[in-house]
Amino acid sequence: MSDLRELYQEVILDHHKNPRNFRILEGANRTAEGYNPLCGDRITIYLQLQGDVITDISFQGVGCAISKASASMMTTRLKGKTRAEAEALFGKFHRVVTGQRDLAPDGPELGKLEVFAGVSEFPVRVKCASLAWHTLRAALDGGSQTVSTE
């Protein structure tokens, strides 16, 4: 049970049940869709980007607890951050969920996003945790195509 509790921490379950910023963003100037064909998860990220700053961010979609909580916590973390800060966070986040923290231990503090460290014990779930982030990157890059985890 202990590694399950590591994966399904209270914070994650809370964000799963009550996702934050779970809405369509009126006035978004960037959107992107993400899709994980393995489990059918679908997510849309809405961004309001002013210059280099994410002034507002929201999401919609269906997915498992991990992907939904990851999207929810990502949106709360990124509001007001710059594009470069978002990229750096994703880099660190990705290393942590894939169990490669030691490759580049520096970089920004994950803070609350540390709860996803437990995902590294569940390799097939890494895509669930990173779907929102991949989709965010697509939105920042301005593409309008659906990104897929496969």
Partner: protein, 424 residues
């Protein structure tokens, strides 16, 4: 090999303990089942994806490569002769297993997918004209959808889809309305992999034949769980996979009526499928070799033959009856759990339970069950139209085989309660 259900001591009075005893002995034939995963005894409930292999099959593969390996149909030396004999004996076993009229009607393929593609590429390409129609159903596996889509696109033909009801049952009346003079082929699954529905395949075939339309039956999920008699069904093609039938991967079967196969062009060109080749003209080989280009999966075919031999000692009817009993035990046990909704509640079903759990994504259900040593499938099961029909992105699916037990059903129930506990 283990004792069959019917040769147990007749004085064992209690029906369920009699069964339990038989299953206990059957399980010993499957080495993989005795292992622990994640520190828990393996509870393997993903049999619709692929089934486990009895020791007899594993030994047959080992023996083939250790002492028999040789190419077939082309050597005059002893090993080649023996390999050819063993390969053809496997074909004869498959022929008897599905009661085909002749071994000429049994073509070895890579699996169900290749069997269907063979018919689409050979029969379909030859017979479809622009505006013609092919009928499939809403509950098909992607491998019985995509080959027809590709063919229809190429030919300017139209794909018609028979709808299903809320229980996941094939709607015969709607099907009848779709049959018309432009229908060239019907391709329908015998048993749905996502729902477990057993289709009224005899009626489906008879109705198509009134229009002189041939029928391909996708038997991937039926052959392992129901006795199949292709002559009684009067189907024109029947496709199935070895790996779901307790045999090796990479081997499958296409049954086809000789009359149809004879008239069909080859599927692939190469060695073995020809009688003589000059640069001016090639004469194709006779059935079934016309459709078996290249060196076949000899070990796979032999392994499949041994798997069938293994099953036949019990009798498919007895295995089906046991699995049905297990389904009758599992269905109320699972559907009673608060928040569970079964997807696929047809009257006629094989031992497949697809379900969703309120507020929990099937993927999370699968991860938590996996930590309990319970292997199920989660996702769309290569049947996205079925998922759309029931308005779910995915389901969790437990699928049982004759080596599964009531205790394993109990473990699944306990596992689902654990999921609920984690998410409460």
């Amino acid at each position: 090999m283990s004792a069959a259900v019917e040769i147990l001591p007749p004085d064992t009075r209690d029906e369920s303990s009699r069964r339990a005893l038989a299953v206990h002995r059957v399980r010993e034939d499957f080495p993989i089942l005795s292992q622990k995963v994640r520190g828990k005894p393996l509870v393997y409930l993903d049999n619709a994806a692929t089934s486990q292999k009895p020791q007899a099959v594993i030994e047959a593969l080992q023996r083939y490569y250790a002492v028999e390996n040789s190419n077939v149909h082309r050597g005059i030396h002893l090993l080649s002769e023996q390999a050819t004999q063993a390969y053809e004996a496997a074909r004869a076993r498959v022929q008897r297993f599905v009661n085909a009229a002749s071994t000429r009607e049994i073509i070895f393929t890579r699996g169900t997918t290749e069997s269907i593609n063979l018919v689409a590429a050979s029969y379909g390409r030859r017979h479809l004209q622009p505006g013609d129609e092919v009928i499939i159903s809403w509950m098909e596996h992607h491998s019985n959808i995509v080959p027809w889509q590709m063919l229809c696109e190429e030919k300017g033909a139209i794909l018609r889809v028979v709808p299903i009801n809320d229980d996941g049952e094939f709607l015969l009346q709607e099907y009848e309305k779709l049959l018309n003079p432009r229908t060239r082929l019907v391709s329908v699954t015998h048993v749905s992999n996502a729902l477990g529905t057993i289709n009224p395949i005899g009626e489906i075939i008879a109705m198509a034949h009134r229009w002189d339309v041939p029928v391909l039956v996708d038997g991937a999920q039926a052959a392992p769980h129901l006795p199949v008699d292709v002559q009684a069904l009067d189907c024109d093609f029947y496709a199935f996979s070895g790996h779901k039938l307790y045999g090796p991967t990479g081997i499958g079967v296409l049954y086809g009526k000789a009359r149809l196969l004879d008239a069909m062009p080859p599927y692939q060109g190469g060695g073995d499928m020809i009688r003589s080749v000059t640069f001016e003209k090639t004469i194709y080989n006779a059935l079934p070799y016309k459709f078996e280009a290249g060196t076949p999966n000899v070990a796979g075919a032999i392994g499949l033959g041994v798997a069938i031999e293994y099953l036949e000692q019990f009798g498919l009817e007895n295995l089906a009856a046991y699995e049905h009993e297990l389904l009758s035990y599992a269905t109320p046990a699972i559907s009673r759990i608060p928040g569970v909704r079964l997807i696929g509640t047809a009257r006629e079903k094989t031992s497949v339970l697809s379900f969703v759990l309120d507020g929990v994504h099937p993927h999370d259900v699968g991860t938590i069950l996996d930590r309990e040593g319970i292997a199920i499938r989660t996702g769309h099961h290569c049947a996205q139209p079925v998922m759309d029909r029931f308005g779910v992105p995915a389901t969790a699916r437990a699928s049982f085989a004759f080596y599964n037990t009531r205790e394993e059903v109990d473990a699944l129930v306990a596992g689902i309660h654990k999921v609920i506990e984690v998410f409460s």
